[in-house]
């Protein structure tokens, strides 16, 4: 379970990214974080990943307060989270197979199963025929699939996706969302997006953010900005 308790995040220059927000996300829940640019979606993702810490309030993940100063298990926390970054962060000197394998290698638990596990993920994200291809030869949609593959490999419990359909055409966006749908019920999935079509048609929980505050929290989905 992920619990935000009265979390405020102020940046050094004084702008408030999140203002006293409280919410809970259950295990294996599928949640959309929506809102206009600057609403605080990416800040929530960065806080869960402990890329930054809140100015006030606490964040509890699986009974562990990750905002405590004493919290020293950042590596273990991040090994439970698969993140799809807004800018993909795909390594250009590694091919598709190696980029996806990285998600498993960093956990340092893999053995001889690495190859079969990567192949399994390549099939899931629809890149089986491109495992030897380098990122420069891939389209934006394919890069996004590689990023998803890297995030979901290694049995990570939580998947965070920051604008996964941001630069994609509607058809490719739907294909990407289909991958997340395949994972539904198996992992906690948090998708930050402002793609209203997808959010409305999937009918999942939607947390609407505006100016750093929770504007609405729809359990059954759908929203309008």
């Amino acid at each position: 379970m992920i619990k935000f308790d009265a979390v405020t995040k102020k940046y050094p220059l004084g702008n408030i990214a999140l203002d006293n927000i409280t919410f809970e996300i259950d295990d294996n829940e599928f949640v959309f974080l929506v809102g206009p640019s600057g609403a605080g979606k990416t800040s929530i993702i960065k806080l869960i990943l402990r890329e930054m810490t809140p100015t006030k309030g606490s964040i509890i993940i699986d009974d562990l307060d990750i905002t405590e100063k004493k919290f020293d298990n950042v590596i273990k926390l991040r090994r439970d989270i698969g993140t799809i970054f807004q800018d993909f962060k795909i390594l250009n000197d590694k091919n598709v197979f190696e980029n996806i394998a990285l998600g498993l290698k960093v956990i340092e638990k893999y053995d001889h199963n690495l190859k079969s596990k990567v192949k399994e993920i390549l099939k899931l994200v629809g890149l089986s025929d491109k495992e030897k291809v380098f990122p420069v030869q891939l389209s934006t949609g394919e890069l996004q699939r590689v990023a998803i593959g890297r995030a979901i490999i290694g049995d990570r419990k939580i998947i965070l996706a920051d604008e996964p359909t941001g630069n994609l055409d509607p058809k490719t966006s739907w294909e990407i969302i289909k991958i997340f749908k395949k994972l539904e019920g198996k992992k906690t999935i948090i998708i930050a997006t402002h793609n209203t079509d997808i959010v409305n048609s999937l009918q999942k929980r939607v947390i609407v953010l505006k100016q750093g505050k929770i504007f609405k929290d729809h359990r059954t989905g759908g929203y309008e900005l």
């Binding site: 439970d80 989270i81 698969g82 962060k89």
Partner: protein, 298 residues
Amino acid sequence: MKEIISSLKRTPYQSLTAFLVLFLTLFLSLILFVSLSFLNSGLSYLETRPQVTVYFQTKINESDIFKIRDQLNNSNKISSIKYISQKEAFNIYKDMNKDNPLLLEMVTSDILPSSLEIFAKKPEYLPEIAEYLKKQGGVDEVQFQKDIVDRLLTLTSILRKTGLIFFAYLIIMSIVVLTTTFLFKIALKKEEIELLRLIGASNSYIRAPYIKEGLFLGASASIVSFLILISIILYLNPFLKSYLAGITNLSLNLYITEIKIWPFNIEFFAMAFALSLVFGSTIALISSFIATNKYLKV
């Protein structure tokens, strides 16, 4: 290995700089090590030769010679003293000139002086012993290798001190240059390191490729510097053979064991290579460790 090669290819100039710095450091250190080994063993060799030889006038009584010997023995500065009587001196003379009967005919034991061959506990005592002997009655001549021992002592001392300073300078300079070079290399992979941190890589996982690359560079630099040193030594071998003619054996005392260094033997070179390998790898390891530290704060 594949990862190391591709990383070296990706930053060829930085890799070359790191290799050259390591190579020069190891090459100079190897030369220093071999020179100091030779000088030390040369000094030890000289210490095994009679260091002071005092020749007595033929008229002196043997008892007077023994009195001088006993006084020297009581001074606590003497390691050993060997008495060579006129008869023994004649036997030595005969042995040395056995191929020249004419010389043998001309000499009898009466005209050869008896002598004492003295070995001091420390080379520093030699001038004092020689001065003492010169003042004794019945002494014809005092010979001692003052110049050679003095020069060797001075040279060894200077080389040891400057070697130590030079060695420390080499280590510091190498670590600074290598750390900077590795920092340049790592800066190019800043985004990759950032990603690895965010997806849960441990510090040791992130550090591993740089450490491996450092070890590879350290090992290859030590192999190349060793091969060049061996080539130089093989080239100089005929010259060294004539220069050190008469010296049958030079050994380096390492407290726990003694290693023969002349004539050249494989154990000495194996030790030099092992030291250079350990030294090169350690420098590279420390430098890559310091350089990666900058990017590993979670």
